[in-house]
């Protein structure tokens, strides 16, 4: 079980969180014309990297904040966690 540092609450066990997928995906702006390809990339297409990955987690059974977690998908090492609106270093 992972040990995740919520930037709002501190170190918490993984079972307080829920996973939210790739944090680098950006939703196309509302009312903006997008091609099928662009939209498919947003909705469906994801890379599955081995190694460093920036991902979303929600501190569901805690402060309910969505946070960003920089994690190694192979070793599970967590390098850093960020608040939703924080600049990614």
């Amino acid at each position: 079980m992972l040990h995740i540092k919520c930037p709002h609450c501190g170190m918490r066990s993984q079972n307080e969180f829920s996973y939210g997928g790739d944090a680098t995906v950006k939703r196309p702006e509302l009312n903006k014309e997008v091609t099928d390809q662009e939209w498919d990339n947003f909705v469906y297409n994801r890379v599955s990297p081995r190694g460093k990955h920036l991902e979303l987690w929600q501190h569901l059974s805690g402060c309910r904040q969505w946070i960003k977690v920089e994690r190694d998908t192979a070793t599970h090492e967590i390098f850093k966690t960020y608040k939703a609106n924080e600049e990614i270093a």
Binding site: L2, H3, S18, R27, D36, V43, Y44, Q58, W66, I78
Partner: protein, 998 residues
């Protein structure tokens, strides 16, 4: 029966307390402090089971967690548990156990015929023998294997025992209380670190319990006792026996199973049977010791052949002789310790040492005691079927390839020592890439992956002096990093005997013309010949060899077999062991009760049970409840001998003719507040929200980004910046998370807050033609006329002094209202509604009537919004705004979503107007078409229409729009039904929706 193999004095058992127990129906005695294994051996019982594949007789091989054979079925306090190691099970008064793998009995076993049909079960037997003919598998092979194999029988009864989970944090977790565990725990504890010391056995001390050493001025055991009692007194230390750390997981989390009650005849009141500890440790010290490995020879699985260290443990800890004419077969000095122990108790052992001229202190001691030692000698094969009767022995050449003449030595046990294998499981589970140590012919931990350090024998260090020194230092160093304290500890003097070099020899060659089975894996019956077959058939990767032969795949995880298997593969392949590599060590280290893993989350405890504040009233009025997610909801209110069908029909009918009331407290409720709330709703819902006035409600549908309908519900504008959103009971939590996602991550510029208010409000739906009359009596001061409170209107009212919210919304298709009050006033509201409703013939209705009402109106719910349908499929396309963007809108342009023959909701009526249609059935064109019959759609929900008094269903049907009036067939292979049906509109009742507006 007398304990004829128990020595007069000695051992750590309590001879003042005799304990009676039964094994395979025979009564025996042992002492407090015995294991089932030591007590049986004290009684001269060596035959405990039959082997997995060949059903050969099985005895005891070890004395602890490494035991591959002595797995029994245990009976305790009216319960039974399979897969219990007799070597670990402590004796208690009234214990009963029986052998497994034996049918009909351990002494006469029909499966043993396999032993004479060896051809039947060679390596890969699962994959080859039983593949052909295919039809034989179910009828012949599987039943035969099921009957003949397996490690006991799981109970089918409800487990009365209780199991607990516990979460713990500590600075240092130390796994194993041998010398390295004690020393490191001691210095860390003295430095003020929070320490957990775990020992899987009942007694602390590990190897110090059986080795002949001195620490300070005391025996090793006395020193261990002293350290333990000091540690137990310290407030920063938790010392746990009977506790196995069995798994090392990510981020330094380890799991430990504590056997709280297994050593007692019965679990004490309020105590758990087992406790599972989830421990997050800053540092982990692995002091799990080592396991002696066998030397492979002919018939080395005969009862009476066992590890030399186990024989010593039975003698020193339990005062039990495993034999009276022992033969010790060794390639190192350990075997001499066992021989000396026998000699001290007046037994004359013979030592066969594979080495030609070993010299050491301990060998000198053995010689001085007059022990018969034969150098360059090996055991070729054990003789005897159910018990060792003698051994064929021979000299062996220096290159270990040629045997001399076979001689026979009479003996009743063979104690074998092939040197020591460090227990590296936890380190390997942590991710440590282990390395091969040529010195000891075994793998040891390499570079640490997580914060783990392996000490002592587990790290391949076999001298006590070095073990203690490094362990004291490591404990101090690691704790200092955490507590920043630096307590000086003096390392005690050690007196121990020096060992000479062991012999790199692990397998005795077969003598000419003999084909003895030489076993590598004793639990899974994998012999040298099986591995040879696997390699001959082209298997190279050790992981493949493992799976093909099942080597190391038994419940003991090959604790005694893995290394010898690797030696064999490397020898045949002409490779060195490290390049063969070992298979992956996976948790659990040893079998763990399923009950302990499940913990308290069983039955009603597997999820919370939520009840509405009106629950007690429902109970008092004969409600029959149904699980709705985590909620308990009334399904119907039973009158007399009514069936579910009769009651729900009555309740639904009463809504259509008079008025009904339904507890809708369970609906998800979310407060949406803030100056940008309208804009937010406008993006979340598919329809327009910017112009909704205060005091009005609107029905809305929300999509996922992929265009699939996520949820529906009404949202009401309570005041300028305050909206009250409702969700379905099932989706409440997901919808809240979904809203938070967009507010926090996608549109943080919107000034909106969302919070769940599900628990804050109790809700009652009042539905039926007489609902307005009732409402007026409930709220005499409020104008509830069609003009004062029109369809989708909202007002606040005063319910006899209680503040209430009144929504004019309908799920039943009738004129209907929903009244909300604060939860605490829920029952008050309900009773008022029932009391005043009496003159309008009010009846409460449950979820079954609720479903009937919504189905015949064609209202979609969870069974249609099933995560696979888009708005069009549910006839909700009228709610899609063309003017604005919203979540998921772009996906609705996908080709499949705009296809002409897209699936769509329809109504289904059986042609005979009588036959009920099972939910989940398929719709097909031709009931007699050859299989696979093309499925056109499925029945999503079924009811008995109270309006028309015949069955009615909703279905999601391919090209549903153009199918109205078609005749199809409903097929339910599950219920074996074929029903001719007609497709009709999904709006079966009041298709124009006039009633809700009346």
């Amino acid at each position: 029966m007398t304990q004829s193999y128990r020595i007069e004095t000695g051992g750590l058992i309590n001879r003042n307390k005799k304990i009676s127990f039964k094994f395979n129906g025979t009564s025996y005695f042992g002492y407090e402090g015995d294991t089932l294994a030591s007590a049986l051996l004290a009684n001269g019982v060596h035959l405990v089971g039959r082997s997995f594949k060949y059903h050969r007789p099985r005895g005891f091989f070890g004395a602890g967690v490494d035991e591959p054979y002595a797995v029994v079925q245990l009976y305790r306090n009216g319960e039974t548990e399979p897969n219990i190691k007799a070597t670990e099970q402590e004796l208690f008064e009234g214990l009963e156990a029986s052998s497994v793998n034996c049918w009909p009995s351990v002494n006469f076993d029909i499966g043993a015929i396999n032993n004479f049909l060896k051809i039947f079960l060679p390596a890969g037997f699962y994959y080859k023998t039983f593949m052909w003919p295919k039809s034989f598998w179910y009828k012949i092979y599987e039943p035969f294997i099921r009957k003949a194999a397996g490690l006991g029988v799981a109970s089918t009864k409800h487990d009365k025992e209780r199991y607990e989970h516990k979460y713990e944090y500590c600075d240092l977790l130390i796994a194993g209380s041998g010398p390295s565990g004690l020393a490191s725990a001691y210095s860390a504890a003295k430095n003020g670190a929070k320490v957990i010391l775990a020992e899987d056995k009942p007694r602390y001390g590990g190897s110090l319990l059986t080795s002949d050493v001195n620490i300070g001025n005391q025996s090793g055991k006395d020193w261990a006792d002293g350290i333990i009692s000091e540690l137990k007194e310290m407030p920063n230390v938790t010392v746990k026996n009977r506790s196995q750390v069995f798994g090392y997981y990510d981020h330094n989390m380890l799991v430990m199973s504590e056997k709280v009650s297994d050593h007692l005849p019965k679990t004490k009141k309020y105590h758990p049977n087992k406790r599972l500890w989830y421990i997050r440790a800053k540092e982990v010290l692995i002091s799990s010791g080592s396991i002696e490995r066998p030397i492979v020879f002919g018939n080395n699985d005969t009862p009476g052949v066992m590890l030399s260290s186990a024989a010593k443990e039975y003698l020193k800890v339990y005062g039990v002789l495993v034999g009276k004419k022992p033969l010790v077969f060794t390639n190192n000095d350990s075997g001499y310790e066992t021989a000396i122990e026998f000699k001290k108790h007046g037994i004359e052992p013979i030592v066969l040492d594979s080495r030609s001229n070993p010299q050491s202190e301990i060998i000198d001691e053995a010689k001085n005691l007059g022990i018969n030692i034969k150098n360059s000698y090996v055991v070729v094969a054990a003789q005897g079927y159910k018990k060792v009767k003698s051994a064929d022995v021979a000299t062996i050449s220096e290159d270990k390839k040629t045997l001399g003449n076979i001689e026979n030595i009479v003996c009743d046990c063979i104690c074998v020592s092939g040197f020591w294998t460090p227990t590296i499981h936890l380190a390997s589970q942590s991710g440590n890439k282990t390395k091969f140590n040529e010195e000891i012919d075994a793998f040891v931990p390499g570079v640490s992956k997580q914060n783990e350090t392996t000490l002592g024998a587990a790290n391949g260090v076999f001298t006590l002096e070095e073990t203690l020194k490094t362990s004291f230092e490591k404990g101090k160093e690691l704790s200092k990093k955490i507590t920043e304290k630096d307590n000086e500890i003096s390392i005690p003097n050690v007196v121990e005997k020096k060992y000479s070099k062991h012999d790199k020899f692990w397998c005795v060659p077969l003598p000419k013309g003999k084909s003895y089975k030489r076993f590598l894996d004793f639990q899974n019956d994998v012999a040298v010949s099986d591995v040879e077959i696997a390699l001959r058939e082209g298997y190279r990767s050790i992981e493949h060899v493992k799976r093909y032969t099942t080597l190391g795949m038994a419940t003991d995880q090959g604790k005694t077999s893995n290394l010898n298997g690797l030696q064999l593969v490397s020898e045949i392949e002409n490779k060195v062991v490290p390049s063969v590599g070992h298979t992956t060590f996976r948790p659990p280290y040893t079998p763990i009760s399923i009950g302990a893993i499940v913990g308290r989350e069983v039955g009603k405890h597997s999820k919370p049970t939520r009840k509405s504040p009106i629950h007690n009233w429902h109970e008092e009025h004969n409600a029959v409840f149904v699980d709705a997610g985590v909620w308990l909801r009334p399904r119907y209110y039973k009158r007399g001998n009514e069936t579910l069908f009769e009651a729900s029909k009555r309740e639904a009918k009463n809504v259509r003719t008079n008025v009904g009331v339904c507890d809708v407290t369970t609906l998800g409720k979310i407060d949406v507040k803030g100056p940008d709330a309208a804009e937010f709703l406008n993006r979340v819902y598919t329809n327009a929200w910017l112009k909704l006035p205060v005091g009005k409600a609107r029905y809305g549908v929300m999509l996922r980004e992929d265009g699939i309908v996520m949820d529906d519900g009404t949202t009401t504008r309570i005041s300028e910046n305050h909206y009250h959103m409702t969700t379905t009971t099932a989706q409440a939590a997901n919808v809240l998370s979904h809203l938070e996602y967009y507010l926090q991550l996608v549109w943080p510029e919107l000034n909106v807050n969302v919070v769940s208010t599900t628990e804050q409000w109790a809700g009652a739906a009042i539905a039926g033609p007489k609902s307005r009359d009732l409402l007026q009596k409930l709220f005499p001061k409020t104008d509830v006329s069609n003009e004062g409170l029109p369809f989708m209107g909202y007002v606040e009212g005063d319910l006899f002094g209680v503040k209430a919210r009144i929504f004019r919304i309908s799920f039943s298709g009738e004129l209907a209202y929903e009244v909300n009050v604060e939860s605490d006033n829920g029952r008050f509201m309900w009773e008022k509604i029932i009391e005043i409703g009496e003159e309008f013939q009010i009846q409460p209705y449950g979820t079954e009537a609720l479903s009937t009402l919504r189905i015949e109106m064609g209202h979609v719910a969870g069974s249609e919004l099933d995560g696979r349908t888009i708005p069009y499929d549910n006839a909700l396309e009228g709610l899609l705004s063309k003017k604005k963007d919203f979540i998921g809108k772009r996906s609705l342009q996908r080709a499949a979503f705009v296809a002409e023959d897209r699936q769509r909701i329809v109504g289904v009526v059986p042609l005979d107007k009588k036959t009920s249609i099972p939910e989940g059935s398929h719709l097909v064109k031709d009931a007699n078409a050859p299989l696979p019959n093309k499925k056109l759609g499925h029945i999503s929900a079924s009811c008995w229409s109270v309006e028309y008094d015949n069955p009615f269903s909703l279905a999601i049907l391919k090209d549903g729009k153009n199918m109205i009036g078609e005749k199809l067939f409903v097929m339910s292979p599950l219920k074996n039904k074929v029903i001719p049906v007609e497709i009709v509109s999904s709006h079966y009742v009041d298709p124009k929706g006039e009633r809700v507006r009346s």
